[in-house]
């Protein structure tokens, strides 16, 4: 069938469809990021962008360079699986320049693991923070680096 013989509404719809699909293809061509699909279903350049973010966590090895005694002490007790920065906060700035002090300890993270909760195993030491010396610092009695040394 010749194009002119086709009903006008069908011709117009075909043209409209071609127009819509065409503009979609143009938009897809122009807007798809250049590195999309380079490694997988994502923007390849995103990897480098993420890698170029400033580093905030230094890692335990960096801490051990100066504080080896504390790291060794920690390794002998129950908290040996915890990382330094898990309690002390981000350390890269302090590693780069020792004059930059680590953030002051906030004891709320002790109760994150040690607040009484029935879903925790029985052997795990748990307290009710409202009854267990409320208002006192945990470290007044406990030594986090060697928890079983002090009751």
């Amino acid at each position: 069938m010749k194009l002119t013989k086709m009903p006008p509404q069908v011709v117009r719809l075909v043209l409209l469809t071609v127009g819509i699909v065409g503009s979609y293809m143009v938009a897809k061509f122009l807007l798809t990021p250049a590195s999309f699909g380079q490694y997988g279903f994502y923007r390849g350049a995103a990897l480098m962008e993420i890698a170029s973010h400033p580093i905030s966590l230094a890692g335990q090895k960096a801490c051990a360079e100066c504080h080896s005694d504390e790291v060794e002490l920690l390794a002998r007790f129950e908290h040996k699986t915890l990382s330094c920065e898990g309690c002390h906060g981000f350390g890269q700035a302090h590693v780069d320049n020792p004059d930059v002090k680590m953030e002051v300890l906030n004891y709320s993270h002790c109760v994150k693991c040690h607040e009484a909760n029935p879903s925790r195993p029985k052997w795990h030491k748990q307290i009710n923070p409202k009854e267990h010396y409320p208002g006192d610092k945990c470290t007044e009695c406990h030594v986090p680096h060697a928890p079983s040394e002090v009751p």
Binding site: Q9, R12, L13, S108, K137
Partner: protein, 413 residues
């Protein structure tokens, strides 16, 4: 200052009971009230469209007064169907990327394709072919902004010869036939998304797509009943009782099938009593008591079943006014009941721990992207759009032809 504070709990922990995994101890479920609205709105679209195809495909003449209203309802709600998802995802400046980098193997991404197919290839086309002749007429007689709109919608085709109108009807009929499986696909897909989560005993269920389709039909027909009655009331017209009775009949049959399948689902769950069954009992008794037992089962299913079923038997003994009130009340209860059903599925499925030994809780916020105010706005928006569409395409002042020509506007008072 904070450093001096000691072992006093600073954070308010999210409320949960029993044994809950750490990643589940969040303040609210990942899929919140907006994701409740998504299957709800999509279901209303599918239901309203199937209601319209009763006229087009199955030739139910009595329903002609609501044909165009149902199609416009489906269209208004379809325009809003992806909104809750997009609002839930956030990142409005990146949302276009979902379209320029289409993912072909993600079940979530398939909604985009199903949606685009249904909107562009089915609903818009069917509406256009149905309205084409009227649009040409209206574009000649209307001036101003409305006239420009009508001219725009004709896409420049002004041929209204008998032959071309016949072709419009033929294509509209074919589109409507294609539309029925498409509507089933649209909402069956939504059910599939939940039903395919096999790790969740509340969702992972092969009946899920069918339950969703049936409840969609029920809610869609109920919405059309409400819209039709409200529109005639606003326009001070009389309701076509024959049309309303037939709508009530289809609503009743759809509700019977829907209730049967959902009942079957529960019988199967109770009899097989699989691993998570105790927890489900707890959910039904405690966590979802009001939305499941009261909202969904009693008010949303049982009461309308009795009322509509009674009307099937004793229709001639009930006065027109009482019938109208009973249909309106049943439709309203069904629409609310189906919303409760979506809530029970979406929120219920996230209120228990994967350990099957603990439950979480969800308290809706008022403000914020996932608050109930936002949800109310998203739910009100299709009605605003529908009002505009009705003003444009179901105007009392404009003469109409075609399938829906016997529309509420044309029914004499």
């Amino acid at each position: 200052m904070s450093g001096e504070i000691t072992n006093v709990v600073v954070e308010v922990m999210p409320h949960f009971e029993g044994f809950v995994y750490p990643n589940e101890a969040t303040h609210h479920p990942l899929w919140s009230v907006l994701i409740v609205l998504y299957p709800y709105i999509t279901g209303l679209v599918a239901g309203a469209f199937i209601m319209a195809s009763l006229v087009r495909v199955f030739n139910v003449k009595a329903l002609e007064p609501v044909y165009r209203l149902s199609m416009l309802t489906a269209f208004a709600f379809l325009l809003c169907a992806p909104l809750p998802l997009l609002f839930h995802l956030g990142q409005p400046f990146r949302s276009y990327q979902v379209m320029i980098t289409p993912h072909l193997t993600s079940p979530m991404a398939i909604f985009g394709f199903v949606y685009a197919w249904y909107l562009m290839a089915v609903l818009l086309l069917e509406l256009w072919f149905d309205y084409r002749r009227d649009l040409v007429e209206w574009s000649k007689t209307t001036s101003g902004f409305k006239g420009v709109l009508y001219r725009l919608f004709t896409v420049g085709v002004t041929d209204t010869s008998e032959q071309s109108v016949k072709l419009d009807h033929k294509i509209g009929h074919i589109l409507s036939i294609v539309g029925i499986p498409s509507a089933f696909l649209l909402h069956g897909y939504v059910g599939f998304i939940f039903g395919s989560v096999k790790a969740n005993p509340w969702w992972g269920n092969v009946l899920m797509p069918i339950i969703f389709i049936m409840s969609a039909m029920v809610s869609g027909i109920a919405l059309c009943v409400l819209n039709y009655m409200i529109l005639t009331w606003i326009r001070r017209r009389t309701v076509d009782m024959r049309c309303l009775d037939v709508m009530g009949m289809f609503l009743f049959y759809a509700l019977v099938v829907d209730a049967a399948i959902e009942g079957l689902d529960w019988i199967h769950r109770v009899y097989s009593a699989e691993e998570g069954f105790q927890l489900m009992q707890y959910m039904a008794r405690e966590k979802l008591f009001y939305t499941l037992n009261v909202g969904q089962a009693l008010l949303g299913t049982l009461v309308p079943l009795l009322v509509l079923g009674g009307l099937q038997l004793f229709r001639h003994r009930v006065s027109d006014l009482a019938r109208r009130r009973m249909y309106f009340a049943s439709a309203l209860l069904i629409v609310i009941g189906v919303l409760a059903m979506r809530w029970n599925v979406v929120i219920g499925g996230q209120l228990f721990s994967k350990s099957l030994r603990g439950v979480m809780s969800y308290k809706m916020e008022f403000a914020g992207m996932e608050g109930w105010f936002m949800a109310a706005v998203v739910l009100a928006l299709p009605f605003v759009i529908l009002t505009i569409l009705v003003k444009l395409f179901l105007s009392e002042k404009l003469p109409t032809t075609g399938v829906g020509s016997d529309q509420p506007a044309a029914t004499p008072a």
